[in-house]
Amino acid sequence: MAEVHGEGPRKRQSQGPFASACRAFRRDMTGMAALAVVLLCALLALTAPLLAALYGKNPTDHYGQQTPGLLSPEGLPVLPNGGISADHWFGIEPGLGRDVFTQLLYGMRTSLLVAFASVAVIAVVGVALGLTVGYLGGLADRAFTFVCNALLAFPTLLLLLALSPVIRSRFVDPGENEPAWMQFASLIAVFAAFGWVPLAMVLRTTVRSLREREFIEAARAVGASRRHIVLRELLPNVWAPVLVHITLAVPGVVTAEAALSFLGVGINEPVPDWGRMISRGSEVFYDDPTYLVFPGVALLVFVLAFNLLGDAVRDALDPRTAR
């Protein structure tokens, strides 16, 4: 993408496909708004420690338990609306009494980290496999299809549920806390292990049709090596589907991660996590919906923005769906 873009020394007239897609994208108001939201989220996530410092709270302190009068003996915030106050802008968490605002901020970090990392791995693996298999065809293609079918048929959620304790007990020394990075790593690994399939399948089909295009034949005729063909002729042609897939995969991973945390096998305490917040929120929903509303709406907006962004990217890249 950067390769095609090359903002600086570009000639006035040169109109790369990326540039024209950018232009189309810039005209799409919804897409731009979605991009703004996504960027804002990323910014908030990146600067979370700074913001938290400015705000004067952190996501792990049990404020409600330390300061009398914030939580009832049952653990519910005493103040109305989830304990929203000047000290705690979004209220406090029922039970532990942590600060919701910082939890949300850091929770976004969690979601984004898992999502971006998984998607990065997915993109690399998916592109590598999709391109190679699409170009090679034959036996590789059959093996690939087989593996894809098997992976598609595997119930991912169940596997994650079953595997996370396995990972935990296999790789973590009993005397130590499971390091946060390991939780992240195992989540990312499993998301990536299944996530590359759709991308690779799409790319395989794309590449198979590209392979029939004459320019590949032309490259072969010129004497180009396989590597050249795959990397220089095919790769630049597939970044459009890859980009679309990536933007749409991010909300997918965020959702899946939240669902896992909701089921109790995602990221563990005390790392803040939206899915777990929602899960906690649904426990106190009938008493005080506030704690569900913040993470619920945040997740909705976030996923919505990413979906919209994905749509916009697709539209910008695909002249056919232009309205």
Binding site: F146, N149, A150, L152, A153, F154, P155, L157, L158, L159, L161, A162, L163, P165, V166, S169, R170, P251, T255, A258, A259, F262, L263, I278, S279, S282, F285, Y286, L292, G296, L299, L300, V303, L304, N307, L308, D311, R320, T321, R323
Partner: protein, 330 residues
Amino acid sequence: MTGYVLRRALQAAAVLLAITAAAFGLFYAAPADPALIACGPKCDTGQVEAVRHSMGLDQPLAEQYADYLRGLLTGRTIDDVDGTPIDCAAPCLGYSYTLHQPVLDAIGDRFPVTLSLAGGALAVIVVLGAGTGFAAALRRGTAADRLLSGFTLVGASVQIYFLGYALQYLLVYSTGLFPVPGYAPFADGPGAWAAGLLLPWLVLGFVNAAVFARLSRSQLLETMHEGYVRTARGKGLGATRAHLKYTARGAAAPLVQLLGLEAGALFGGAFITETVFGLGGVGKLAVDAVVQNDLPTVVGTVLLAAFFVVVFVALADLVVAWLDPRVRLA
């Protein structure tokens, strides 16, 4: 076409075989000792060994797998924890020492729930998804399109557990607008059956329909510009009729394929929906089995889920072939 069907069936069988191996290896390699769990916390080493023997866990993994496959094909006899032989008939998925039931029976008990839930949800997906997709595509660019697209976008972005809880509280327990979710066997009266599943159908259907609606909209928009649709209109066919007869037909293949995948996933058990609405289907069985380390049931439900995905994907392929003479007659 027969050749195609046969080839597809063989492929599906091979995939399933691979999945049995993978599931078996993965789950039996898990660290928790199934024998210890089955025997209970008060067992001493000797008892655990006895249980391990009756469970066949003292044999090499490959042999256990072979036994498993044999059971799957011909049925076998399995010893319960105390050595009582249990007859496990032909597609034997093993015996659950937690549920004290052959896994297949446990699944069979719950399958009507999953079947009912998945069937209804699929109907909602098709009607709602294709309906909104169609309506939006026909009116593309208008306010109606934006509204419908927004609606489906929200559907695609909302979490089922969030929506499920909220709706249940609002529509059932607070206001009583909807009947209490639950499962009453169809045989006991279709009315009660449908009433209990109404809300789960709608919620599960809505969330999945969103994806379906988005795909059908974009597919229809793409097909709408096909030459043959224009030809149909050139014959004097009205726009709607032309789209129904030609555009829809042209757009159908990816939709059928998506539906196949979704149907496969649904019939394998909708864990979260079942959890949210308290339905005791296969999904719940699977999650419980995972939580309780009930390996035979975990492997059994994984296989079942995979089986449905494989079967429905294969079915979808066949439907696509049937829909498209270019594939069918090739």
